[in-house]
Amino acid sequence: MAKNQHVVPHGEGWAIQGEGSKQVTSVFHTKREAIDKAQEIASQSGVELLVHGPNGQIFRSVDIPGRLTDTEIRDAVRTLARKSARLSRTRHG
């Protein structure tokens, strides 16, 4: 049976770990890369993606449908982050 996929802090980077496993399966430089890969695995296996915070706490939300999908919300969050980074580069350089 496939395991829920956790994105966890790992040294200087982030890693993917199957639920209940002691070992990580993949290591990434950035959290975003780890989330993307874990999301892909979770979607293919029909399991849950659980993303940890820097202290190890798991961020959770209510599991009921809204107007938007998680993918649409994540795209919006990332679009905003890209805009903010562009603005910051323009200001500083």
Binding site: V7, W14, T30, K31, R32, I35, V51, G53, P54, N55, G56, Q57, I58, F59, R60, S61, V62, I64, P65, G66, R67, L68, D70, E72, I73, R74, D75, A76, V77, R78, T79, L80, A81, K83, S84
Partner: protein, 207 residues
Amino acid sequence: MAGATSDYGQNVFINCPFDDDYKRLLDAAVFAVQIAGFTPRCALEASNAGQNRLYKIMDIISSCRYGIHDISRTELSLGRLPRFNMPLELGLDLGCWRYGSDHLGDKRLLVMDRSAHRYQKFISDIAGQDIVSHSNSSGRIIRHVRDWLSTESKAMTIPGGDYIYGRYRSFQRVLPDLCKAMRLNRDQLTFSDFSRAVRIWLEENET
């Protein structure tokens, strides 16, 4: 009553007003619950439940180990009638804790009002519960919710109150632009949309 669901220990029932004046305080409570690693639940999930709304609320209450009850807005409304939903849901949660099946005996409840001891004038029977005042301040709500969850859950992973409040302010600053990127007005976000937006923003920005 059925046994505990697997996420019972992570669920936090938030019982509060849902009007526009209170929205910023509800947002603060939801944010504090989520950054602490818990799942906010509330009666808004039962919005489309029709005649079964009360049963749906009862189901939600029994699936939550933690309950946050804000009784700060119980005055007469414009129609000159008091607002009973918050005291009703507090009563349901107290009843669930006291009379529910065994696992519900470990429920934890936090009662909030806008000033200390005001409850004694209209709902004095709840004396002895964990009752705090928030003075209609989102910062105070965040710190109360954070400290209470930390104490009751004994979780060592919950960040400090000042840190959470700072992150909440950051989220509030980006929320209008985030809504634009999602092509929705803030008023159009459902409870689920808002809760998932908080989670995903935290996932992407708490690194």
